[in-house]
Symmetry: C2
Subunit: 340 residues, 2 copies
């Protein structure tokens, strides 16, 4: 019932080794034999067994994409990133194993088999991340997406946006338009990215010889969804502080909420209020369309794969840090501060 290399060999009247080599091309085979083997293999619907092969070659051509255990929900940023990862893998003949096993499964017994992967891409690294430690100890090829915890900074390769300058540029754009009171609806405070963005924001403000107003810096509460976050925080801030003339938003969803609030308050974008956003390149439907920093998540993913495969196939481990830049796309949601 299950057809193996032996069946093919026997039927074709050759040895297992020969059959193996017909497929791998690792040693020359005569036309004649080759033809015969291929013919028989096709007839029998033969497919090599993945495990048997990997058991001996120690290679799977699968890469792991590890997301945080308890929180499996993918955002559209993750989507684009996954698209990039798939594209990179696609080009090289690798497959992707999405690993989002709940940590309670892993801890049930510590002796669960290691993943059948040649290496891992790790998302959303956190301070004191056990996943990183484990892979470094076992010497498993590893690329982080995002900023590593400080203690591993010198030990892993990673790819990230340059979040400081991205935020700085976006803020500067608004400052150049004359805006002074700029509300910043940042990512949640426990994500490393929010700190870098805050830094960039402050740098820009300081650069214009002003003092950052901490009242204007908000973090998304973990238990609130993004649309609600945008809506509630924008509305409250705009009602309480009439001097706010611009908002920077963490994502397209946050803008969804902001636009709702703005309509409710009877304001006009960009005349009364400018809105700028960090985006995953997937914002559409907004009117006016958004001025944004596209974080190019798909490029992040693609680059991570490239680095990982390079690491898998190289003898000596070379640490690399790759920063993906973003360029500002200016659209209708930002404009000069109203005079008066």
């Amino acid at each position: 019932m299950r057809v193996t290399i032996n069946d093919v060999a026997q039927r074709a009247g050759v040895s297992k080794a020969t059959v193996s080599n017909v497929f791998s091309g690792k040693r020359p085979i005569s036309e004649e034999v080759q033809k015969k083997v291929l013919e028989v293999a096709k007839e029998l619907h033969y497919k090599p067994n993945y495990f048997a092969k990997s058991l001996v070659t120690r290679e799977t051509r699968i890469i792991g994409l590890c997301m945080q255990g308890e929180n499996v929900k993918l955002s559209s940023f993750h989507l684009s990133l996954l698209n990039g990862v798939l594209k990179g893998c696609y080009a090289k003949g690798y497959r992707v194993l999405v690993n989002a096993l709940a940590s309670r499964f892993n801890s049930k017994t510590e002796f669960i088999a290691a993943d059948p992967v040649d290496g891992d891409i790790l998302l959303d690294p956190a301070e004191d991340d056990k996943r990183i430690k484990e892979r470094i100890e076992k010497n498993i090829p590893l690329i982080l997406i995002g900023k590593p915890p400080k203690k591993y900074e010198k030990m892993v390769s990673y790819v990230d946006n340059d979040n400081v300058s991205t935020a700085e540029n976006l803020t500067n754009h608004l400052i150049e338009l004359g805006h002074r009171e700029i509300l910043f609806l940042n990512a949640p405070q426990d994500k490393t990215v929010s700190h870098d963005r805050e830094k960039g924001y402050k740098l820009a403000v300081l650069g214009s010889n002003q003092t950052p107003n901490l009242e204007l810096l908000k973090y998304k509460p973990d238990d609130m969804n993004s649309i609600e976050y945008g809506y509630l925080y924008a509305k409250k801030a705009l009602e309480e502080n009439k001097n706010i003339t611009a908002i920077i938003a963490d994502s397209g969803k946050v803008v969804g909420g902001i636009y709702d609030a703005v309509r409710e308050l009877g304001l006009t974008i960009p005349d009364d209020l400018s809105v700028a956003v960090f985006s995953d390149g997937n914002t559409y439907g907004f009117d006016p369309s958004l001025t944004e920093m596209d974080l190019n998540p798909s490029v992040l993913g693609e680059e991570a794969v490239k680095m990982l495969i390079e690491q898998i196939n190289s003898e000596k481990k070379v640490l690399k840090r790759v920063f993906i830049s973003s360029e500002i796309k200016i659209n209708g949601s930002t404009g000069p501060k109203k005079v008066g």
Copy 2:
């Protein structure tokens, strides 16, 4: 360097078999031995080898998620679906292998190893889909998401939206509002889903004692992106046929294009034009907000996993069809046909 079951056995002074059974719990082991083995295993950082194990057990606890070869780009529908799949797997301790290998890799040689999965979930089934044929022949557990090609209808289990009635309901909503000339920007013609939706659309029109106008039925060209599709087709149709007062769109992105066209033409939604959409529940930012049928992709994914795992673990194969219903959410993008 690489620690195997032998190392553990030796160091613990027991046999391989005993070590194996300590982990599997398949036969009783004395307290004493158990403790010793666990201790040594921990000390050595032992992890069982995935392949060696799978080679003999014929089980991987990995399920495959197969997407069309050449077109690896995931949409936000896929994203929600993937979220559902992950959630389902997560609950049962399975992992997900995303298979989007280009078909040119598969065809390079037909004898690429079969995927290391216990079963597959297959997306976007097409007429004459080789992937389905292959899996049926090899008797690999399989669940389709979407409607199977006719010739496999009686041979595979699948989960799908009830696309006929979904389209019918959405169309009826517009008809009840008085609309008669309803443009339908459908999915690409080679996707099975487009046929069911067309059917539903026609049923609704016929139900109101009218004859469907085939001029109003459009399919997305494969090589055009969705936003462009919405923009170009809506604009052209609205310019050429002033009687059109409503549009049904295939997805949120298509609506993005439609809204652009509408603004350009100086029309108002819903006064001049009603817009309704099949959605993945991820539409935000539109003003007015969308009247939609939420297809619940995440539920589709979760259900597919449940069925697949059931199939993997059952002796006799029972065919199942599961339909996920969708309810209409009425919002500001649809309204009564203007009188006059």
